[in-house]
């Protein structure tokens, strides 16, 4: 899904309300995209007093108006709390976590939930300053397996099984799930 409000902001530079400006513009762009999409909704020949476009149209209008208000506020110096503006985000920590998330999306299909989770676990722990990836991998593995067999099986939700899960299940239950 295109996400105009999520993309543009990278770093708020001190003094200018750049971040706020991007957020306000993002809201306005999203509202514009919504209006465009509302006109894409075919009006049904089925009779309805209020068609499927009315509420989306008002939602787009509302978001657009609020975007303009945010823009005014951003031009006047922004609204970010002082303490938050001065805090420099720890980009290294964020990079580790984002790397973990991206790898997770990429690998969960081909390698299965457990292995992808262990990689995610190690990356996030590293982002939070852990210096012992092997130990983290061990904890992550135990955690992922408990989560897989406990949580998923109890709730009856089906997480993509990969090599490791099938292999373990074949040991535990003596059958290889197809």
């Amino acid at each position: 899904m295109p996400d105009p409000t999520g993309d543009p902001v990278v770093a708020p530079r001190g003094g200018f309300a750049v971040g706020e400006l991007c957020i306000a513009l993002g809201a306005i762009i999203l509202a514009a995209v919504m209006v465009w999409q509302v006109f894409e909704i075919p009006v049904s020949p089925l009779y309805a007093q209020v068609g499927p476009t009315v509420m989306p149209f008002f939602a787009a209008l509302g978001l657009g108006a609020l975007g303009v208000l945010l823009l005014l506020s951003a031009v006047r110096g922004g609204w970010q709390p002082e303490e938050e503006r001065e805090a420099r985000p720890d980009w290294q920590a964020l990079a580790w976590i984002i790397a973990g998330l991206v790898l997770n999306v990429a690998l969960i299909g081909p390698l299965g939930f457990t292995i992808a989770s262990v990689i995610l676990y190690v990356c996030v722990a590293r982002g939070f300053g852990s210096r012992n990836p092997l130990r983290d991998a061990g904890i992550g593995l135990a955690f992922a397996l408990i989560a897989y067999f406990g949580f998923a099986k109890t709730l009856g939700i089906n997480i993509g099984a990969g090599l490791l899960e099938n292999w373990l299940e074949s040991i535990v239950f003596g059958v290889v799930p197809s």
Binding site: Q37, P42, A48, P52, E84, P89, A93, A125, F128, I157
Partner: protein, 505 residues
């Protein structure tokens, strides 16, 4: 008394061994996630939503309610011992409670907050028992136009009145409404806002949005500020038994906190922040030792904690009787009702009497369990605080992934989860409230449905919302809620100016 008979019947439901087990699981899990920073009841219930396909509704709601109440108890432990309030409602508890812990009175602070939570939770649940049937009687007269007006009021109060800025609150609310509108329109079958992505035809699952905002966004935010700084956990010192003086200084704040928390929670405005702050100021004003405030005054823990729990009980009144959620957790519980095909509202008390009264009875039982879990067994939870942040947050993200990937096993959902997580990070960093997103997402489609029904009944006459007395009154209230604080602020500054002028002359 009818409500009393119904409640007895409810106890018969809640006291079956299976439901007692669900209640125990819920309260234990709730306390645990309340204690652990970075996890909250909305996120936990969202992750557990798939359970609605496996167990009967009474069991699921007893579990969810246990988590909801338990998180309130557990949250106070963290704010007292760690000084990092997990939710905004426990900020005040951290204010005085952490100072008490530093003075070696952690035991007393934990005791007054646990017992205060118990007192408030029990009185609040009694409040539900007797208030809910009254609201139901009244709500049976509501038509779709009135419901629509009520939802507008809830939208305004949760996004514009609570929080630091009406503009930002409403902006996130509209984002939530947009997310809620994505998918096929149930009335006409038209796809809306799907951008040609087939995965979006069924709409975006609320689990993805809640988990993205509350788990992924929160983790990113904490990581960006963490810098391996370790929070100091204050060791549990001091007797858990309160002295006679501490009891004397606690019981009135408990009752006053309850009296503030329950009604404010039960209003369609909802929210726990206003009553906790109010309670803090009231206690500071009434205390015989106001000089202790800021240095660990027990009243400043007892009152706000009670207010917090009483408002949590209050929030359940509009949720059950009107189907109107006023907090993110209540909104997710509403989506659990929807997943069972049950519509909360006045008819719920007729059609699902066993479920509703079983749930209410389980709240009484849960409060007793929570008192035991959080006082004699407090040492277990203190140990949980020692889980190192790297392990905790890595675990949270793995769980978030399971909860999301398990729904459809589609990488699209995971990408959506992470994008919403990034959005959640920006919202934290730029001071946008997150709860209105969830509320807008759940309540938006319901508001649209009521709007359409009202317009169909009125044969397309827009004035119906202003000519019906109930809906007109509610809309006026919503307008006042939106404009009132601004007018009040204006009036305040005028008054201060006048005073300054008077002082000069």
């Amino acid at each position: 008394m009818n409500a009393f008979d119904q409640l007895l019947h409810g106890f018969a439901v809640a006291l079956t061994p299976v439901n007692l087990m669900w209640c125990l699981v819920g309260t234990t899990l709730g306390t645990a996630i309340g204690v652990l920073p970075g996890l909250g009841p909305a996120l936990t219930i969202a992750l557990l939503l798939p359970i609605t396909f496996k167990v009967d509704p009474a069991a699921a709601f007893i579990l969810f309610a246990g988590i909801y109440y338990g998180a309130m108890y557990g949250g106070s432990t963290t704010s007292i011992l760690l000084n990092t309030p997990g939710e905004s409602a426990t900020i005040v508890t951290a204010l005085e409670g952490n100072k008490m812990a530093r003075n070696g009175r952690a035991g007393a602070a934990l005791a007054t907050s646990a017992i205060g939570s118990f007192v408030a939770g029990t009185i609040g649940t009694l409040g539900i028992t007797f208030l809910a049937p009254v609201v139901v009687d009244w709500a049976l007269r509501f038509g779709p136009a009135d419901y629509f007006a009520l939802m507008i009021l809830a939208f305004v109060t949760v996004s514009a009145v609570l929080g630091s800025s009406a503009t930002r609150g409403l902006a996130t609310l509209f984002l939530g409404i947009f997310l809620g509108l994505i998918g096929v329109d149930l009335q006409t079958g038209q796809a809306r806002f799907t951008f040609g992505v087939p995965e979006l035809l069924d709409g975006i699952n609320v689990i993805i949005v809640a988990v993205g905002l509350f788990a992924v966004g929160e983790t990113l935010y904490v990581a960006s500020r963490y810098r391996s700084g370790v929070d100091e956990i204050i060791p549990l010192k001091g007797s858990l038994w309160m002295t006679r003086e501490e009891w004397g200084r606690s019981w009135k704040p408990w009752l006053r906190g309850t009296a503030l928390g329950f009604p404010i929670g039960a209003m369609p405005a909802g929210g726990a922040e206003i009553p906790t702050f109010l309670s803090y100021y009231v206690e500071k004003k009434l205390s015989r030792k106001p000089e202790e405030f800021g240095h660990g005054a027990i009243e400043g823990v007892a009152g706000p904690e009670a207010a917090n729990n009483a408002s949590a009980a209050g929030v359940l009144v509009p949720m059950l009787t009107l189907g109107l959620p006023t907090s993110a957790t209540a909104a997710i519980m509403l989506s659990a009702f929807q997943s069972y095909g049950i519509n909360p509202g006045p008819l719920l008390f007729e059609s699902q009497a066993t479920l509703v009264w079983g749930l209410i009875a389980s709240l009484f039982i849960g409060n007793v369990m929570l008192l035991v879990l959080n006082l004699p067994m407090i040492a277990i939870w203190v140990k949980m605080l020692r889980i190192p942040a790297p392990q905790l947050y890595a675990g949270i993200l793995v769980f978030a992934t399971i909860g999301t990937y398990g729904i459809t096993q589609s990488p699209v959902d995971l990408i959506l989860l992470y994008v919403i997580g990034g959005l959640g990070y920006l919202m934290r960093r730029y001071d946008f409230p997150t709860a209105p997103v969830i509320i807008g997402m759940i309540l938006g489609p319901l508001a649209e449905q009521n709007f359409r029904q009202a317009m169909t009944i009125s044969a397309g006459d827009w004035t119906v919302f202003f000519t019906r007395p109930i809906s007109a009154t509610i809309l006026v209230l919503a307008l006042l809620a939106l404009a009132g604080p601004r007018l009040f602020g204006l009036w305040q500054t005028m008054r201060l100016k006048n005073q300054a002028l008077a002082g000069d002359s």
